[in-house]
């Protein structure tokens, strides 16, 4: 069954059986198992490239690229905040798509549910970061940590919205039941995103001429090296997202396996109760 055009790293969703390698954490511990499955290798590659990308972005962003005439060094946040915000929307998009695929009878499988859960959780982390970096950007630019900027306000709503979604995922129940309930909750949450965005945008434009220097499509003159750094940061943060997504996805797989094994034991014990050799 072909996966939807999710990033390549995911196509080979590495089975948990693969050896736990060190990923981007620096301790290069020799992998325990000798067998190195190909997908785990791809994952390491993604992790390594992402790490290199981020380091390069930081190096370029902080030291190499020139400060901006208007914003001075503040522009350096531009290499962080927009790409994190972009990853947030990608994460929620992937969660929405996989929830749809889970609900669609033909493509229904718990794999989509695990993917939706993983992507939403990573999405919430990135939403939190978008808020933090956004308000850090706002403090010197607009003089206050929180100015009800339309984008940030919608992001704050998203943050709470998807915390609610994660709470729905934790309601105990059979895995199929939990999956279906979470998928529906994801759809409901996702439909709310555009409504929130436009009503907040319209609401803010009533109170303040929308000439606020929006961090995403700022009108600053993009110097050559700046553009490259911006592109690099988008790519590397997307890779970070993929790496985090796959690891979170594998964690769900492991938890499910633990649950599965427990089930086999439970059935054996149950059989024993009937003291009659099962026919």
């Amino acid at each position: 069954m072909s996966l939807v055009t999710t990033p390549v790293g995911l196509d080979s969703a590495p089975p948990p059986g693969a050896p736990a390698e060190s990923g981007t954490s620096t301790s290069a511990r020799p992998p325990a198992e000798t067998g190195r499955s190909r997908s785990a290798l791809v994952l390491r590659l993604v992790g390594a490239v992402a790490l290199v990308g981020v380091v390069a972005t930081v190096w370029l962003g902080l030291w190499v690229t020139p400060p901006d005439q208007f914003m001075g060094n503040l522009v350096r946040l531009l290499y962080l905040h927009p790409s994190i915000a972009w990853v947030m929307y990608v994460a929620y998009g992937v969660a929405f798509l996989s929830s749809l695929l889970y609900l669609w009878p033909r493509t229904r499988s718990l794999r989509w549910d695990k993917l939706a859960g993983a992507s939403s959780e990573v999405g919430v982390v990135f939403t939190g970061l978008t808020l933090v970096t956004g308000s850090i950007w706002g403090r010197p630019t607009w003089g206050a940590w929180w100015t009800w900027d339309p984008l940030l306000t919608t992001t704050a709503l998203l943050f709470v919205l998807y915390l609610g979604y994660l709470a729905v995922r934790r309601i105990p129940g059979d895995s199929e039941v939990r999956a279906r309930r979470s998928a529906i909750a994801a759809l409901i949450a996702f439909v709310d995103v555009p409504i929130c965005y436009f009503s907040v945008l319209w609401w803010r434009s009533l109170h303040q001429a929308p000439s606020v220097d929006d961090p995403v499509n700022g009108k600053t003159y993009i110097h050559g090296s700046m553009a490259w750094t911006l592109l690099l940061s988008f790519v590397s943060f997307t890779l970070v997202y993929v790496w985090l997504l796959v690891h979170r996805y594998r964690l769900f797989g492991l938890a499910e396996r633990e649950e599965g094994e427990g089930l086999a034991l439970a059935i054996e014990e149950r059989r024993a109760e009937s003291q009659v050799p099962s026919r």
Binding site: L157, L161, G164, V177, W202
Partner: protein, 225 residues
């Protein structure tokens, strides 16, 4: 579907009339909220006061808080000693149950909104104008509120800690309704209803979207409760 909806709505409203929880507890709760706002935002009287200008927002926050209570009450009736099997066993059409329960909560909310409108205009010294837009936004907003409220009511039926789950799910969802309804009321009360019509559209979009989603999603969600 409509037959079942009428049956469920009738049952819920009869329970409401018999037990008087809606009028007896939810409306007073909303009134207390209005009083608390008054205490919090200062006694100021007349046009300049904070309460005067914030009246629409405070009204709608009180309505939102009351909606959560009304939804929790409506589903507490179903889940007697934690067995929500009653609804499933009844053989009613799930979409009918959704529309029935939403309608029953909606009726209670409209009564509540009427009472609150009078009291808040009294408390915050703001007499009501542009009645048509006020009433219109109330009805459309209530449809949206009860639709999403009923859906999340059945979602949180399954959870043991449902008292805290429903508000967490409900309030972020209805932020646009709070926004649009407040702006619609603002426009109506400040004598320029023209501005409010756009906000009415936002309320309408929200209401239609979640009425449709509720009718479809309620069945599977009830199964999993």
């Amino acid at each position: 579907m409509w037959r079942d909806a009428l049956l469920v709505a009738g049952k819920d409203l009869k329970i409401e009339l018999r037990s008087k929880v809606g009028l007896g507890q939810v409306v007073p709760f909303a009134l207390v909220v209005l009083l608390l706002f008054g205490l919090a935002l200062g006694p100021g009287v007349g046009r300049g006061s904070v309460l005067f200008s914030a009246e629409p927002g405070l009204f709608w926050i009180a309505v939102l808080l009351a909606t959560v209570l009304a939804v929790q009450r409506s589903f507490a009736v179903e889940a007697v000693d934690d067995a929500s099997d009653g609804l499933r066993l009844s053989g009613l059409d799930p979409a009918g149950i959704f529309v029935g329960k939403a309608a029953a909560i909606g009726c209670q909310l409209l009564v509540l909104e009427l009472v609150l409108a009078l009291v808040s205009s009294l408390l915050y010294d703001r007499h009501l104008e542009g009645g048509l837009l006020l009433a219109g936004s109330c009805v459309v907003a209530t449809v949206g509120l009860v639709s999403i409220g009923t859906v999340y009511g059945v979602v949180s039926l399954g959870a043991r800690q449902r008292e805290t789950l429903l508000p967490l799910l409900f309030f972020p969802m209805v932020a646009p309704v709070l926004l649009a309804a407040t702006k619609a009321w603002d426009a109506a009360l400040s004598g320029s209803p023209g501005h409010g019509l756009g906000w009415l559209d936002v309320l309408a979009v929200f209401a239609v979207a979640y009425l449709a989603i509720g009718t479809v999603a309620f069945g599977p969600l009830l199964e999993d409760a």
